[in-house]
């Protein structure tokens, strides 16, 4: 399990959570595999039936849990297996991008791509490109940030527990 230890000496690599729709982008990723295209191993794919299923909560959760980037892959406009689930995602994408930018998360960290079932090469190029851009941006590491923020409470907590111990000892003495 040492490989996932954040204190490991291994260089930092961006971690991307990807939501791929079953019909186009997931299949394209399969095609990239069948075609033995090589791309960066930073993406972890979660399969959904349609990009329309991607709840903005999932994207925020991924960031909150430590993803450096989130990629959503759907069918090209007009090609959605479910008529227009991809458009619904597109609309959420634009609004969510604004929230993310207001919250200090760079737009490169959240990407929506249309990748059809035959575009295995696009899976490769999009992932490689995203990894390159995220590598340039550096880690987002929200959990670490949180821990950093919460450190400001430690002193007080420590002080209070010291006082408590002293009090207890005092009572016992």
């Amino acid at each position: 399990m040492e490989h996932t230890n954040p204190t490991d000496a291994a260089p930092w690599r961006p971690r991307i959570v990807a939501f791929f729709c079953n019909w186009c982008t997931y299949t394209a990723a399969d095609l990239a595999g069948v075609s033995r295209m090589k791309y960066a191993p930073n993406t972890r794919i979660i399969r959904v039936m349609c990009s329309g299923r991607v709840d903005p909560q999932f994207i925020l959760e991924a960031f909150a849990r430590g993803a450096d980037g989130v990629l959503v892959g759907g069918c090209h406009p007009g090609d959605c297996h479910y008529v227009e689930g991809n458009y619904k995602m597109l609309r959420r994408y634009h609004l969510l991008q604004r929230i993310l930018s207001d919250m200090g998360i760079e737009k490169e960290r959240f990407r929506l791509e249309w990748i059809s079932a035959s575009e295995g090469d696009k899976v490769k190029s999009v992932i490689n490109d995203m990894v390159e851009k995220l590598t340039g941006l550096g880690p987002l590491a929200l959990p670490d940030q949180r821990a950093e923020w919460d450190r400001e409470m430690d002193i007080l907590e420590e002080k209070m527990s010291v006082a408590e111990t002293a009090e207890k000892e005092g009572t016992h003495a």
Partner: protein, 668 residues
């Protein structure tokens, strides 16, 4: 949602021979998985999809009382059903099984073993967390309508229709042109056996016409498709032919009688090499053998002022019917076979081959018509000036294998070029020069045919033609009329010399391209295209006639360039797949539908306009939204958009996806 009961997970990682194990450290992952909460059994195995692999899973379920299964192997699109079946056979609900794709998304796309193993480990942790939330689900079954729609009446569509009809299924064959037959009907003889195309095709066309189980709608187009596997509603546009198919006896006297004594407009069947009248039949063996009136040029249709000689000659048969209107008809079918065929590459795109500029440059399809006994010259190969060509160049790979035009090899051109070389040499004795890049003659009897043509003395020059110019520089600017000898220039790469061969005629072996409207058809059918624009099969090897849309099958060259034997074989396969579907009587549908817990719903109605299938409605009495699971296709859009989190989706529950996200990102 809460996990239910004690969780006992069995984890299996597949070596897939060396496909996975050579990149991903399967043993290490199996050891790792064993440490995760809830995992009772963790194994790695050579081939999980093999019988012993499945049995291993089954016996573990029984022995260790497993109630959740995670299989890390190939894509779920490939083997999910295999492992679900194995799970079910062991007495566990199949939906307690979840797959992790570590081959297509892992070992096959990554080189760094350590990183690929790390990625696999993350994905497996996610799955092991996810599976805790799985619930038992029942597959849904929906009945399948028994009729089949075949789109396209070329050889593939004809063969698929006949196969299905012979099996007792009712087929509606929709063909855009006034006749079925497709490109094959235009060919002279077929390689490598040199059967006459018409001789083998015409009987099949007639069978279509006569078959009691086939409804042939020629001169018609599919304009809309709704529904899903087993239950498609298709809207067909039927164009007015102005000749009643029921009443016409096929005597063709109306064509004779037309006020135009001679043909005046380019004849589509002869690729414009001859002229036809406003009322015409594409070719004598056309099916249905009923003339068609071209509304663009028929004087009656255009102006209403005609002597109506056709009507007069038809007499009390009354088959000519100018009152016909375009109609839209809805049909309901259980399956659809797409056999929309191909188009030929537009040779005018390559300026240096002179097509459309020099009159002696022809496409291969034009050459087919010119040497065909039923063609515009009665089978005599003549130049526009009436001379017989003495030397002919056949240029291979026109528009194929070229990044500027089409990257693919069109597969049939080498062989049809050799066929044309043979036929023309046989009939005219001309010197034939075939310029090729590589001679592609795979398949039964093809190499033998190539040998035969070589031995006949056809000049086979290995070099791609670089330029075609008039031998004598044409005077003036009017090169369009140029009719003299052409010099074909290419490097003969086998001797390393540039050769400039003067010929009387050039035939361009144009490649095969998708139909012009393939993109629209694709969208209408909701299927995918490969990079070149041909329709995409579900799997290139294991599901070559299936599409990603269940119930829609591919036949013939709409899926990619193909010769006649392959088109027929594929059409048979598509028919068999369609038959298997409809004969089963019903189809299983993934139970991934959305549902609403009534007490959670506030009745805000936000979800209702989101559903493209109108599966969500508002119950006015209860003031809550209701999902009709029979109509739901499981996209999950409403689930993602429900503002109070009150819509859920089987197999894709929020908790399942959240646990996957958390699992992926958890630092160990």
């Amino acid at each position: 949602m809460k996990e239910n009961g004690e969780i006992r997970i069995g984890f299996y990682i597949c070596h897939c021979g060396v496909n996975i194990a050579s990149v991903i450290d399967v043993e290490r992952i199996a050891a790792y998985a064993a440490t995760l909460p809830g995992v009772v059994v963790s194994r790695h195995y050579k081939y999980m999809c093999s019988d012993p692999g499945q049995e291993l899973l089954g016996s573990d379920i029984r022995e260790h009382k497993l109630n959740r299964i995670v299989v890390a192997a190939c894509s779920p699109l490939l083997h999910e059903h295999t492992f679900r079946k194995a799970t079910e056979n062991a007495g566990l609900n199949p939906y307690f099984m979840h797959m992790v794709n570590i081959r297509e998304h892992g070992s096959w796309v990554h080189e760094d073993k350590e990183l690929a193993t790390g990625k696999a480990q993350d994905m497996i942790r996610a799955a092991i967390r996810r599976v805790r939330f799985h619930e038992p689900l029942e597959k849904k079954r929906v009945p399948v309508l028994q009729d089949v729609l075949v789109i396209g009446g070329g050889i593939a569509g004809i063969h698929a229709s006949l196969t299905l009809a012979n099996a007792g299924k009712h087929v509606i064959l929709v063909e855009r042109e006034p006749t079925i037959g497709g490109h094959m009907a235009q060919f002279d003889k077929t390689f490598p056996t040199l059967d006459c195309a018409a001789c083998i095709l015409t009987p099949k066309m007639t069978s279509v016409k006569d078959h009691p189980n086939i409804t042939l709608w020629s001169y018609s187009e599919v304009v809309k498709i709704d529904g899903s596997v087993g239950n498609y509603t298709v809207t067909v546009k039927r164009k007015p032919r102005y000749v009643n198919e029921e009443l016409c006896v096929g005597c063709m006297e109306c064509i004779e009688a037309c006020i135009y004594k001679e043909g005046k407009w380019p004849d589509e069947f002869n690729v414009g090499l001859s002229k036809r009248k406003p009322i015409y039949i594409p070719f004598p063996q056309a099916v249905p053998p009923v003339p068609v009136i071209d509304p663009e040029h028929c004087v009656h249709v255009k102006t209403g002022k005609c002597r109506d000689t056709c009507v007069a000659i038809c007499g009390d048969r009354n088959a000519i019917d100018f009152t016909q209107k375009e109609t839209l008809t809805d049909i309901k079918v259980g399956a659809i076979v797409v056999a929309t065929g191909f188009d030929i590459f537009d040779a005018t795109q390559i300026p240096y081959y002179g097509y459309g500029k020099y009159r002696n440059v022809y496409t291969a399809l034009e050459a087919e018509r010119l040497i065909n006994a039923s063609g515009p010259t009665g089978g005599e190969l003549l130049l526009p000036d009436g001379h017989k060509p003495e030397s002919i160049a056949i240029v291979h790979c026109v528009g194929s294998r070229d990044v500027h035009y089409n990257r693919w090899c069109s597969r049939v051109c080498c062989m049809y070029s050799l066929k044309l070389a043979h036929l023309i040499k046989e009939r005219t004795g001309a010197e034939i020069y075939n310029f090729y890049i590589d001679m592609r003659a795979p398949g039964k009897s093809m190499e033998e045919f190539y040998n035969r043509v070589s031995e006949e003395g056809v000049h086979l020059i290995r070099g791609r033609v670089a330029d075609i110019t008039p031998q004598a520089l044409p005077e003036g600017s009017d090169q369009g009329g140029y009719l003299g000898k052409l010099v074909v220039q290419a490097e003969d790469t086998l001797i390393g010399r540039v050769r400039k061969i003067p010929v009387d005629m050039v035939i361009l072996a144009v490649g095969l391209v998708p139909q012009k409207d393939a993109e629209e058809v694709r969208r209408m059918l909701n299927i995918s295209c490969s990079t070149g624009g041909f329709f995409l099969e579900r799997h290139p090897k294991l599901a070559p006639v299936n599409t990603f849309t269940d119930g829609i099958f591919l036949a013939g060259a709409c899926q990619g360039p193909k010769d006649i034997p392959d088109s027929v074989a594929q059409a048979g396969a598509a028919a068999a797949e369609a038959l298997a579907l409809i004969d089963a009587g019903s189809v299983e549908i993934e139970p991934n539908t959305a549902y609403i817990i009534e007490e959670d719903c506030s009745g805000c109605k936000s979800c209702i306009p989101l559903c493209p299938y109108t599966a969500i409605s508002f119950d006015e009495a209860k003031k809550k939204a209701v999902i009709n699971e029979a109509l739901c296709k499981g996209c999950g859009t409403c689930v993602a958009a429900c503002p109070s989190g009150s819509i859920r989706q089987h197999l894709f529950e929020d908790e399942e996806i959240f646990s996957e996200i958390d699992g992926l990102l958890t630092y160990a």
